[in-house]
Symmetry: C2
Subunit: 404 residues, 2 copies
């Protein structure tokens, strides 16, 4: 088998931890597999480097920031490869530009466009454990780029796709993907398998296990991803292509996201182009709008409500306030004490009445629903933040099949 | 003018220092010059990285060590380029592989073979201050290499040669090259100019201002090097091609080197191949032998004396002891309390009797000469270490013309 293993910052946070990672990779190699290892910067290192940048300038240039922070992964790959060699395992490190992980030129949030698998493959064929720097690439002009926080997941999945690996193992400090956050919901259980689409919804809804872009990549190239713990040998959760049996489970997981702020523009005359007028400036300010709801009333005016990440609320609010005269709106209100709770499952497509049951369950607990948004395999509601844990537990216990 | 400036680890040791370097480069740019800046790792950084390596393995792989330590310069170039940009100066950083500083594959002590000046030149032409990582290159297989300690000097001179720069300014914490160490010799004076050949002798004799390889490079490509202080605007010392007037000065400088150990093999039968037998194993142990003296006596036996760096004395001694039976020697003695004192000057070639006068001056002070070695423009003697300062002062006051 050809296996790609990815270890995050905590797993390589100290020289001792790096030796543990080396042992694990060596074990896999000893079992007769070809092994490529993707690693992140040692935990804390990226922040240390960014702090250095902040000491020379308030607005660090984006190109140079990438030159700076990409050293974090470079340090880790060198240390890991030399550890493996000292243990007697042939090994060498590879950086983004050496592999040719070609990306676009969006510094700090670049997207992988092409990977040259040749040098890694030839290294593996010669018996090496090849150690790959996560998070980094080069653009067409040979500038160093980085993929944004959590980008090492994407590197691992993209490398696995390019190598046509049999498995892409993502090692984390949790032992898999859970049907809900176990800290909120004692009945939460580890999912042995989950479809890419479900994982996409879970990742974007606040389950912090995998970077969402890496899941998109895994889905597109059908990479078999295995999320598992670096502290145990137990199987974790496999991300797989959808299978018929998966539809039998209505809901795979329940998630909550407290990083939500709700903004409502009151009583706007409902004219064509209203949404564009409101959301154009917000997008230009690089604020990601999540849910949008518009209710037209009989008098030709409407209330427009949307959610943004809490940290962007003030900026979004200011942008809206500046527009009020032009919009002819009555005013604007906002609420940062809200949460989004969602249920996700392939089975929703064929099981009718899931939404109705969800609303009933929440109503029975006296939880008021402020916004609703649905997709084919997901239903999200925005509620008062204080009910978050209660809502998750109620929905999980009602929808998710208990462990066998 | 096209100017290459090089700043060492102390000059870029903190964010504040980096801002000072940025100001100095910007000033030069404002004066209408094209400026490329070569920088080292922040002081202490290379040692920090090597200490990390030592925590994972006792014998770090050389290729991976270079991947590791080259991050030091990468951090500095990013910080300096972003500082310059924040001050409103167009600037970008370049790493060894981006420039194409091609070296051989001798990791940790690589030699530059070829530099592609094109990208730097086009950056300069567009008005940028181009910031170049010192100390690093890539070999023909795209592996990262480093040039060894002090290698940033060599990078600067090599870049200056490739760009056909009008000046290569080496900024240090001293304000130039002195006729002797001012801490030993109060009469020492700053040399305004010195020939490459003299500087080569001075560099190899322990004057720590410039890495010797950078001087060789400067000589070969006739790069006008200007050694000066990063703390003042005063002119420092120019390294120049030899000029007739230089011969008028007999001695340019006096140096001392305490990092010397003397080893003597006593009473060896003098047979052909003796030296090869002794120095073969020592060279294989990577020990650099400095002076060698052999005195044949009438009875067909000889005493063989040589010097090595103090840190290698024990290893060299062990190597010699193992050979004693085979050599048929009487025994071996050693002495680590010795120093090498040298006088250097182009004028020696035409001034007779310099050596004799040197020996007289030392004899008058009661200083016994243990070994003598001469080149065309240098005379070195090994003496008892305790007389080092006295010898330097006596020779300096007698030979070096006092400042006008």
């Amino acid at each position: 088998m050809l296996v790609v293993q990815k270890y995050g910052g905590t797993s390589v946070g100290t020289p001792e931890r790096i030796r543990e990672v080396a042992k694990r990779a060596a074990e896999t190699h000893d079992a007769g597999h070809q092994v490529a290892v993707v690693v992140s910067a040692m935990s804390g290192e990226t922040n240390r480097l960014l702090a250095l940048a902040k000491q020379v300038t308030d607005r660090p240039d984006e190109r140079e920031s990438d030159v700076l922070v990409s050293t974090g992964e470079q340090v880790t790959v060198a240390l890991l490869a030399m550890t493996l060699k000292s243990m007697g395992y042939p090994s060498f490190s590879m950086l983004g530009h050496q592999i040719e992980i070609e990306t676009d030129s969006a510094f700090g949030r670049a997207r992988i466009q092409r990977i040259n698998a040749e040098r890694i493959l030839s290294g593996l064929r010669q018996g090496n454990i090849v150690v790959v720097a996560g998070f980094q690439g080069v653009d067409a002009q040979d500038n160093i780029t980085t993929l944004g926080r959590g980008g090492s997941d994407t590197t691992a999945v993209a490398i696995a796709a390019a190598l046509k690996a049999d498995a892409c193992e993502i090692y984390t400090d949790v032992d898999g993907v859970y049907s809900a956050d176990p800290r909120i919901c004692p009945n939460a259980r580890k999912l042995s398998r989950i479809s890419y689409d479900e994982m996409l919804e879970l990742a974007s809804l606040g389950a912090k296990v995998l970077q969402i872009r890496s899941v998109e990549f895994a889905k597109r190239y059908q990479v078999p991803v295995h999320v598992r713990s670096s502290f145990s040998r137990e199987e974790g959760t496999w991300l797989v292509h959808e299978e018929p049996s998966m539809e039998e489970v209505t809901v795979s997981g329940v998630t909550s996201d407290l990083d939500q702020a709700k903004i409502t523009i009151l009583h706007v005359p409902d004219r064509p182009g209203l949404a564009a007028k409101v959301f154009g400036p917000i997008a230009e300010a690089n604020i990601v709008v999540d849910m949008i709801i518009q209710n037209a009333s009989a008098d030709g005016s409407t209330d427009l409500t949307f959610t943004v990440p809490k940290g962007d609320a003030a900026k979004a609010l200011a942008s809206v306030k500046a527009l009020l005269p032009e919009l002819g709106a009555q005013g604007v209100t906002h609420d940062v004490d809200v949460a989004k709770v969602s249920i996700v499952g392939l089975g929703m497509r064929s099981h009718a009445g899931v939404a109705a049951r969800m609303f009933q369950l929440l109503a029975r607990e006296g939880i008021n629903i402020l916004m609703i948004s649905t997709s084919e395999i997901k239903i999200s509601v925005v509620i008062d933040a204080k009910y978050t844990e209660l809502a998750v537990r109620v929905l999980h216990d009602a929808f998710v099949t208990p462990p066998k």
